[in-house]
């Protein structure tokens, strides 16, 4: 079970308080109506699923209800950093 630093509460909390919300930095296309089916499918369904460093969106569901991002190694489960929505990760590989 993870121990996750919530950048909003500024504390480590138990994983039970959080929900994972999939890959981070998946932006909604600004003009959906002019996306091709393929572009929309990319946005909807295609995810990286890497072995190693991965950026994920989580929400502090049982705490402050705020979303934030985690850089996590999917192999070791190490959490390298957590950062707020709108910020960029410092660990990318």
């Amino acid at each position: 079970m993870f121990e996750i630093y919530c950048p909003h509460c500024q504390e480590y909390r138990e994983e039970e308080e959080f929900h994972a919300s999939g890959e981070a930095h998946i932006s909604r296309p600004l003009d959906p109506d002019n996306c091709t089916d393929e572009e929309w499918a990319q946005f909807l369904y295609f995810r990286k699923n890497p072995r190693g460093v991965h950026h994920e969106l989580w929400v502090h569901a049982a705490g402050c209800r705020k979303f934030f991002n985690i850089t996590r190694d999917t192999q070791t489960y190490e959490i390298k950093e957590t950062y707020k929505v709108g910020e960029q990760p410092t660990v990318t590989e």
């Binding site: 909003h8 509460c9 500024q10 504390e11 909390r13 138990e14 039970e16 308080e17 049982a62 705490g63 402050c64 209800r65 705020k66």
Partner: protein
Amino acid sequence: MSEVIANNEVASAPVLIQQMDQLSSQGARAESPLYHADLASVAREGNQNGGVVLQEVALLGHLVLRGNINNAGFTSGVEKVLGMALPGSLQSAENGDVSLRWIAPDEWLLVVPGAQAFSIERELRDAMDGHIAIVNVSGGQTVLNLSGANARDVLMKSTGYDVHDRNFPVGKVVTTTFAKSQAVIRRTGEQSWELIIRRSFSDYLWLWLQDASAEFGLTVRT
């Protein structure tokens, strides 16, 4: 009482936010979330010197305050009406019988005497500017005071949050898991803690607390 229907002067201007005094002025019976547990009888007839002491502080006014900490129109409004500043992360503040808890970077929980909920909501709205929200949740939750020599043991059974002195000093407040529900937990003294729980989970948590306290003895106070 209703600014949508009853107040003709305001009705002509656009109603932005519906404000509503939710308390009965005709003395209708109000039941707190643990009303059905008849805690008064338990207090009278039950264990008088348990290691855990539980008290429901029923029918208080609970107001959720939402706003941006950088919005002076929000923060100064709070200070003006409540006579205290908004507490920072995981902190609480008190002024007489009014207490304020940090919940999230843009959310605080204000607890006031039950009868004052609407007047304080109105005063706050009048004193505030900009993008804010106030929501009356007085019927949706209740306050439990948990104290006694074994209060901390009960908390350790119930939440994964670290309740040790070094991590949880008096005045700190956290929203976290509690059994299979949630609670806003505030440390109010050396051996005393405040739990704010949701109405629909209150019976479950009352059962849970009785069970978790059983080995230490549970005293209920009114």
